[in-house]
């Protein structure tokens, strides 16, 4: 049995359809931002409330009570410089995972580049990170860390790296979730696990040797480490960046591959 579908559409050439796709992606993302925070007077406050609250709690519980401060210099910045990128990561991943399933009505009734949906979920969370970044930098400066020239290169580079990682991972999870709906709750559990495995609340050197291989399996740990090294020590092209780069490339390849292979079956599975 062979099925062929041909379309001769006189209108858009590739370039124009790329630009309309970008327009649509931007419009959807802006709409989601507006809708989510409209009517909340302190919308901006809510964006930074989560990392700051968790940061404070962890600082008191671990830094003061368990006295990690003794082992980790500048423990408050140690926490915050990891928590901000972490919330960007976890927010994007959990939102992207459900995005195809949640928009099944749209996908079945309207023809458009489907990749827009996970991209907009990631972009939405990226915009939050970008807007809260000055707050993070503010805390770093207040803590007495001098701004480094390296930040100018490091921040955009790490953001690009994390953005690509999230696009890959988000597309992969959103695609697989269409066919395997248990993935949603699984991702929630995995994120909880990754939070503790990402060495966000403690430095990697405190981890006993026998647990190191487990930590190494974690796709975000190197990236979180890279963010921290950048803000705490002004280091950028150190050890952590290379595994982060490799993981990003792998997730991007895997995500786009899975999406490409499975996209045509969406119509029947949604």
């Amino acid at each position: 049995m062979a099925a062929t579908v041909t379309r001769t559409s006189s209108a858009p050439d590739l370039l124009r359809s790329l630009s309309t796709t970008w327009d649509l992606l931007l419009a959807i993302t802006l709409r989601d931002i507006r809708v989510r925070y409209q009517g909340t007077f302190l919308s901006f406050i809510w964006w930074i409330a989560r990392p700051l609250t968790l940061g404070t709690v962890l600082y008191i519980a671990l830094g003061r009570v368990l006295d990690l401060r003794a082992d980790v210099p500048n423990y408050s910045i140690f926490l915050l410089s990891a928590l901000f990128p972490w919330f960007w990561f976890s927010g994007s991943v959990s939102q992207a995972t459900g995005i195809f399933v949640g928009n099944s009505g749209l996908l079945k009734k309207v023809r458009f580049p489907k990749l827009i949906l996970p991209l907009s979920a990631v972009l939405f969370n990226t915009s939050q990170f970008l807007l809260t970044l000055p707050i993070l930098i503010g805390f770093v400066l207040v803590a007495g860390i001098d701004p480094e020239l390296m930040w100018l290169a490091g921040i955009p580079a790490l953001m690009a790296l994390q953005l690509l990682l999230l696009i890959g991972l988000g597309t992969l999870l959103a695609t697989l979730n269409v066919f395997f709906r248990d993935l949603g709750p699984m991702v929630d559990v995995a994120l909880l696990l990754l939070f503790y495995l990402s060495a966000i609340i403690f430095p990697l050197d405190l981890v006993p040797d026998e647990f190191r291989p487990i930590m190494a399996l974690n796709p975000v740990a190197p990236l979180i480490d890279a963010w921290r090294n950048l803000f705490l020590y002004g280091e950028f092209l150190d050890g952590a960046i290379w595994p982060a780069l490799a993981i990003t490339a792998a997730s991007l390849a895997l995500g786009l591959f899975a999406f490409n292979k499975l996209e045509r079956h969406f119509a029947d599975a949604l």
Binding site: M1, A2, A3, T4, V5, T6, R7, T8, S9, S10, A11, P12, R16, S17, S19, T20, D23, L24, A27, I28, R31, D32, R34, V35, Q38, G105, L106, K108, K109, V110, R111, F112, V178, F179, F180, R181, D182, R264, H265, A267, D268, A269
Partner: protein, 285 residues
Amino acid sequence: MPSKERYAIRLKGVSKRYLLSRTTPLHIRDMLMKPWTIRSRLAGEAFWALQDVSLDVRRGQILGIIGKNGSGKSTLVRTMVGLSPPTSGTVSVHGTYAALLDLGAGFHPDATGRENAYINALFMGLTKKRARELMPEILEFSGLGKFVDQPMRTYSSGMYVRLGFSVAVHVKPEILVIDEILAVGDADFQQKCFDHFAELKQQSATIILVTHSMSTLREFADRVIHMEHGRVVNDGDPNAVIDKYMMNRLTASPAARKVFRRSLEAQGLLPEEAVEESTPGGVER
């Protein structure tokens, strides 16, 4: 720029099979508790939503599609516009198209009508610039007045249709596909739509209309096809196809047949064989 093809849409031997198992996603629960079911799930029971449909739609034609619920009408139009890939057969579409298959597909309930209309236009493939230019016209045509700046969750379904339809026709598609939603609009708006169809038709746009409103089709369609069990069972002049369809429906159930026969008896015209023969395929399920 209109395409030079004589046909807007050509389907050749198109079939669509749904594997019933694949339409429900895999769950860990089933894999763990009932591993023996996995194999049968993967093999699965098949349902043919479309069976060997061949159809050429000429450019500038207004085509009506009728048939009972579940007869394959929606699958057919979704296949035409590429939302559902056929299992076998060939689909070729020539020209740009806009499809209005659902109330509110792509509308965000918390965004305003204005914002949704704009995004909807982008969904239909317009550039940002073109969409901005068309906005005043679109909003004007919808007749929603000051409600365009209210969130769409406050809209009635009729208002949804008004906005969706306004966008779809202003995109100026060469092919416009509408799946049974106009019925929700009020008489005024329906009239406005049909006037607009006439205008689109003049620009040799092709319009495909799935509807249960026979009077609409009698008035506007150039051609009607009747679907049953995923097949095209009748195709041709709107009045002829609709008459036969209504007749079959009237005589579908034994009770209806009795009533029908009695009324014919009363009028002194009893085509006995005709009534028996015209038992439609619909009841043998």
